[in-house]
Subunit: 562 residues, 2 copies
Amino acid sequence: MTQAHIELSPPPPLPEGALRIIPLGGLGAIGRNMTVFEYDGKLLIVDCGVLFPDVDQPGVDLILPDFEPILDRLGDVQAIVLTHGHEDHIGAVPYLLAHKPDIPLVGSQFTLALVEAKLAERRIDPYTLTVKEGRREQLGPFECEFFAVNHSIPDALAVAIRTPAGLVLHTGDFKMDQVPLDGRITDLAGFARLGAEGVDLLLSDSTNAEIPGFVTPERDIGPVLDSIFSKARGRIIVASFASHVHRVQQVLDSAYEYDRKVALIGRSMVRNMGIARDLGLLRIPDGLVVGLDEATSLPPDEIVFMSTGSQGEPMSALGRMSTGDHRHITIAPGDTVVLASSLVPGNETSVYRVINQLARAGATVIHKDTAKVHVSGHSPAGELLYLLNVVRPSNLMPVHGEWRHLRAHARLGVESGVPTENVVLCEDGDVVDLVEGHARLVGHVKSRYVFVDGLAVGDVGESLLTERKILGDGGFVTATVVIDSVTGKVVAGPTISAKGFSEDPEAFNPVIPLITAALDRAADDGITDPHQLQQLMRRTVGRWVNDAYRRRPMIVPTVVEV
Amino acid sequence: MTQAHIELSPPPPLPEGALRIIPLGGLGAIGRNMTVFEYDGKLLIVDCGVLFPDVDQPGVDLILPDFEPILDRLGDVQAIVLTHGHEDHIGAVPYLLAHKPDIPLVGSQFTLALVEAKLAERRIDPYTLTVKEGRREQLGPFECEFFAVNHSIPDALAVAIRTPAGLVLHTGDFKMDQVPLDGRITDLAGFARLGAEGVDLLLSDSTNAEIPGFVTPERDIGPVLDSIFSKARGRIIVASFASHVHRVQQVLDSAYEYDRKVALIGRSMVRNMGIARDLGLLRIPDGLVVGLDEATSLPPDEIVFMSTGSQGEPMSALGRMSTGDHRHITIAPGDTVVLASSLVPGNETSVYRVINQLARAGATVIHKDTAKVHVSGHSPAGELLYLLNVVRPSNLMPVHGEWRHLRAHARLGVESGVPTENVVLCEDGDVVDLVEGHARLVGHVKSRYVFVDGLAVGDVGESLLTERKILGDGGFVTATVVIDSVTGKVVAGPTISAKGFSEDPEAFNPVIPLITAALDRAADDGITDPHQLQQLMRRTVGRWVNDAYRRRPMIVPTVVEV
C-alpha cells in the first residue's frame, strides 16, 4: 500500500473458488459508489450511485459508473444491494435498470422507498426485497447478512457477504455516534462476532480517514438550534439535505419548543419527509407542520421554513430566496437563515454566494463555520480504528474516497495491524481477487466517467469537456471565406465573428488583411484544398491573437466552396 | 446596519470640512483592496490590490479595482499608502501607475521591496517613502501615523489618518498573535491612545468576523512541523505562500533541527526570501539553504524542498510535481508533502486535485484539515471585539470582506457599543462622508470588476463572461449557408459544425433537412435579408437541440452572400 499506483492490464480469468471484487465507482472520487462482486459466474452489485460534477466537468448534469464491464452480463446479476438512500449510492439505479429492469433491488425500508420514488418518475416498477439489520438472505451464491450502521440518513445498512471464498464485510457509509437520535447505533458487537468468525476482507468507508478523532453526536446540534431559535426575532429559515431526517427532526423539535410552525419547502424535502413520517422515522407533533400559504400568513416570529438548497443550488428554494426570485418568500432584515449542513467540496463558491446574497439582503446567516449546526455522517480516523480493531480483517480495501482518503485509511489499517501487503489500495476499475484468504490486485477494466448531459448519456466525453474548457476560458473566433470550387479564388470574406473574446467591436480589424494576404499567397502557390486553407487561416488568426492579446480562444476556420 | 443594502445614486458634492471615503475594492469580495480618502480636493489612497477570479470569471487572469472614478483626478492623489505586501493590497499598483507613474508609494521597508520588485518587471521605478511604526507623515492634508500590526507577512502597518474632519483608523489586515515569532505584536496600546484621543471612524479587517474566538499563535506550528520532520524517512516537501516569511522560518528551523538542507523552489519564493533575508526578517543558518542541483543529489532524508503551489496552481512547482511534470523532482513513495497554508475559497478543487495526485503517486500528504500546519492571518470575532473595545470608535465601517463577513463585523460593532446608526455597512463604490463626527452613506459611484485577460485590461466585461459560461457549459453549434445575394437562393450548405456539444459524428444529420426546409419556406415568402435568415436558422437549430437533447449550446448561424 505504500507503492505509487501503477497502470494495470486486463485481469486474468477468475480462479475457481475465488471471489472477484471490481469497484466501478467510489474509489478516487466521492460519489457514484458501485462495487461488483463475482463468484462462480454470478454477480452481486453493492450500491449504484451518481457522482456530482465539479468545475472539471462543465455542463455535465451527473456522472455515472461505467456499466460497460458488466453490460453483457446483466443476466448474471443476482441483486443490487443498496446500503442506504443517498444519491451517491442509489442515483444511478434508474440508468442501470434502463438496461435490465428486473434486477432485484435489496435494501432497507427507507432506502427502497427513496429509490422507488425515484424510479416511479421514470415509470420503472422494480423488483424489491426489503431487508433489515439481523436478516440473512441468500442471493445466488452470495449469502448476505445485514447490520445496522449509523449515518446521516436513517435505516443505513452494512452488508457481510459470505461465499466459499470467504467472508467479506462492506460497511457502506457509517459513523459511530454512540447516542444517535433513533438509538440505532452502528452494530459494533455484530462486527465483533464477524471478526471472531474471521473477516477475510473489509471494505470500509474512507471519507473522513484523514480527519483525526471522533464525530460530535448529532444530538449536540439540538441545543445549538435551540439557542438560535431563542434569539431569533423574525423568520427562521433552515436549509439542510432533503434526506437528513434526524436533522429535520431536531429543527421540528426546536420549532415546537419555541412555538413556531414549520413549513417544508422544496419538492424533495416534502416527499422524503412524507416517506419518513409514514415509516415512523420522523415524529411530527399534530399541527406543527403547515402549508406554505398558512406559513406566509403567520407573524415572522411564529414560523420556520425548512428548505432545500444547502449546497447553494441556484434553482433551489434557498437559492431563489437569496436572489429575490422565490415566489412566496422574500428575505428581509431580521430573518435568520441557518445552513445546517456540510459544505460538499466543489460547492464552496455557490454556497458562499448564497450566504453573501442573504447577508446583503439583511439576513443573519449561521453556517457550520460559525456555529455547530452540522456534524459529518462519516467516521473519522479515531472511529475507523475502533472498527479495524474489532473486525481484525485479514485484508483491507479502503473504499468511498478520493486518493487522499484511501491512502490515509490504508495507513490506519497498517497501524491497526493489517499486514502492509494485505492492504489493497485501488481505484475505480481495478480488479481485486480474494484467493485463499489473500486479496490481490490482479488487473484493471476500463472505467470511464459516463456523463449525463440533458437527455443523452455517454455522448459527452473527456475530449469534449476539454473543448468546453477552452471555450469557457477564452471563447472562440470564427473566420469564414467562400471560395470558387474551380479556381480556388476567394469570392466572399474573410468575415470574422467571435463570442467570449472581446467587447471591442474593432478588435478584428487588424487580422482581416492578414488572412487575405495569407490566402493570396496560397492562391499564388496553387493551394486550393479547403482543408489546407482552413489550417492556414487557423494559424494566421492564432498567431495574431497570441501576439496581440496573449490569449488562446478556440479558432474555427470555415472555407465554403461554391 | 440591519437594513438590506439598497441601490444608491451618485453622491452630492463633498461638504466643506468633511472627509469622503470611497472603497473601490475589498468590500463585497476579499481582494482588490483599495480605499480612496478625499479631503479639501486632495486624495489619499490606501492599498491598491488585485482580486483573483473564481469560477464566475472564467479565463480571467486578475480583477482590478475600477479606477474610473478617480482617473481624471490622479493629479490630486497625494500618495498610495500600502499597508502590507500581499497581492490583494499591492497587486494593482502597476496598473494604476501605468496611468501616472509618479504617484508616491508609502509603506514599510518589506512592503515597498515587494512592490518595487513587481514594478521592476514592468520597468517602472516608483517614487517611494519608507515609513515604519511610530512614524508620522504629512501627505497633503492627510496626517498619517503608522502602527505595527501582526499579520501573515512581516512589516504590516495600520494607518491613522488625521484631517480637520476627524481621526480615522484603517487597520489594514491584522491579527493579534500575542507571541509572534518576530515579537512585533499589533499595537493595541497605540490604538488605545488613539481611542483616548477619539477615533471618529474605524475601518477594520472583517475577514474572520464570522469565526468565533481567537487565532492560534503562529509559533504553535513549529512543534507540529518538528513532529512531522521527526517521523519522515524520505524527502519532505513543504508548500506555503511565497510571502509567508515566518512560516518559512519555522520550516527552516525544523530542517536545521533535523539535519536537513533546504532548497527554495519557485521564482517568487526565491525572490521574496532573498528580500526577507537581506532585510533581516529571515534568519538562515550558514549552509542550510542549498541550490536545487545539490538538493537533488542529497539522500532523501537530508533534504526539504520549500515550494510554492499551496493553492493548487497547476503550473507551480508543487502542481508540476503532482502530475510528474517537474523537471527535477518526481514524487515517490516515502515522500512527505506538507501544505502549510490556508485554502483560499475558490481553490478547493485545485488544491484537493493536487493532494490526490500526490497521494496517488505514493506521498503522505499533510494539510490543514489533518494537522495544525496553518493558522489564519486575520483576527476572528474574539480579537475584533478587543480592538473595538480599545478603540471605542464613534463610527465603524467594516472593510476587507464579503457581505457575510461585513455583516458579522457590523454585529460585533453593535455588541461592543457602537450605535447601530453609526455602523456604515457598504460595498465597493459606495460613498461615505464623515461630517461633524457622523459617517453616513451618501451615494454610489460605478465600481465594476475590471478584468485583466492576457495583455488587455478592460475589454472583457460581464456580458462576455456570460458568453464564456454558455460556451463552457454547452459548447456551440454553427450553421452556415451561402446564398445568392440577388435571388436569396441557397447556393451552398447548410453545413453544421460544433465544438463541446457531442462526440456523435452523426449528431447533426437530423437538423440539416429542418434548416433546408425552413430556408425554403423563407425563400417562398420572399425573405432574403441575411439577418432574418440567421434568426430563422438560430430558432430552427435551437428548437431541435432542445427537443432532442435538452441542452442549450450557443447557436451561431452564418449567412454568407455571394
